[in-house]
Amino acid sequence: MILEPITYSGGIYRHEEMVELIEDLGGHIIQRQVIAGDVVIQANVPREDIGILKEVAKPLLGSITISPLVGTEIAVVSMSLEIHHLPHTSCDVAEYLRRYGSKTNMVGLARGFGKRIANLNVEERDVINEHDGAIFLLGNFEECIHYKFPTLRRGIHVPIVVTGGPSTESLKKIIDPPVEGYVGGIGRLMHRYRRPEELAKLEEIVAEISRVLDVRRAEIAKDPLSINPPRLMEVIKEQVSAIEEVTSPTPITVQMTGLRVKLPYETYAGAIRDCEIEDGIHIGDIAHILPSRMRNYIIVRIKPFSETNIVV
């Protein structure tokens, strides 16, 4: 069964029918957001059943769209949080990726600006490595990107997409060793993206990051995970009641190979490790429960089948 990431948006009236249908079809709800009278549901559903969902959505005046980035957490790396780099490019990119279902976190580097002085500290590196991918928003000059990018990428092992002022071809030429994705012609700006060619660039970023993550998904498929991350999320939601009290919009963030649980590590790591999935298999058996560098959250890294010999 191949699961397809989708977004359902419609009214709150009778949306429970959609929720139940997704669950009955064997899909997983990743996030349900109720905003006044509207509801937005992000879910993974079996590819062959999308037609049924569309049929059910029609009388509810809802819409189903394929969202390639649902179930991914992406770091949007801005060179600093100063007025020079924020809000324009960074916020527009982060916001646009969210429209396609991704959960984005903005990582503003303490010393990412400049040429010679650009730097990446250990905490920033670890935070970026907790994500499924990172998108680096670089500046306008080839010379600076060529000089500083090796420093900024040091120690990062998640797929990287680079954006910058020079053209895509120039970026490919100056970045060595190559990164996973490039989008040129989108450097430092002083205004919001509003012109058609600028919006097209945002589309290009979404396409590029989707392509990069698809490659990663294909790699994961060769040695599948012991459990599907959204399914693990449901297990934790059922068994760790404290998650209900977390006020964050996504108390559990689904990633491609794990979860970020927004509960304190010291208090809840043990409880999560001991959750039983089925037939005496505990979360601790199939996943690493690690402290996150982001606040004191918990990172759950699901082990692959080759390591556990278990698929649940």
Partner: protein
């Protein structure tokens, strides 16, 4: 950016120069500085790296006086100002309160200010200076350059006179002689003779 007589961004990387032209244009527009700059030349060399902006300032508007804010009607010990232009209302009130005392200035509605004095009010009240608009402009000009220049260029030299200004920034220590020759050279490109 049509309002400027001369506006060029020069760089060994033409695409980078084009981006910076747009950045500079938006910053000047946002801070409303186009009306006070007549010529601007920006030079950015990312190899050094260095950012140089040299420019010519237009003649600045003179003092804002009470008569520029509204019409004044004097009746011996009482004067009524009907506000026509609210832009400088705050400095006007501060000035009047300083001159006549806080309890003698009343503002019954948004567009009326009443002064009640204990002695006859002179007719020259209309000529009293409310504010000098050029005061904040030099600060804004340097802020605009800091805002537009690449971030991280924290070592800088700046100069603002009544007619000219320059702003040089880098992340490395700046050599005085180099800065001087660069600034003179860039002013010359605009047809301006600058003698440091």
């Amino acid at each position: 950016m049509e309002a400027l007589e001369y506006f060029t961004v020069e760089s060994p990387e033409p695409l980078g120069a084009e981006y910076y032209r747009r950045i500079m244009g938006i910053v000047l527009q946002d801070l409303d500085l186009i009306k006070i700059i007549s010529r601007l030349h920006v030079y950015i060399d990312p190899k050094v790296p260095i950012f140089v902006a040299v420019g010519v300032i237009k003649k600045l508007p003179s003092f804002i006086r009470v008569r520029d804010c509204g019409s004044v009607k004097i009746e011996e010990m009482r004067a009524t100002i009907s506000i026509g232009n609210e832009t400088y209302l705050a400095p006007l009130l501060i000035m009047l309160q300083g001159k006549f005392g806080k309890d003698r200035i009343d503002q019954p509605d948004r567009f009326t200010v009443i002064i009640t004095s204990d002695q006859p009010i002179q007719a020259d009240i209309e000529d009293m200076v409310v504010t000098d608009p050029s005061e904040g402009i030099y600060r804004d000009l340097i802020y605009a350059m800091q805002y537009a220049a690449p971030e991280g260029f924290k070592v800088r030299q700046q100069f603002v006179s009544k007619e000219l200004f320059y702003y040089v920034a880098s992340e490395n220590t700046l050599d005085d002689a180099m800065v001087r020759s660069l600034v003179v050279e860039k002013f010359a490109l605009m047809g301006v003779r600058y003698d440091p």
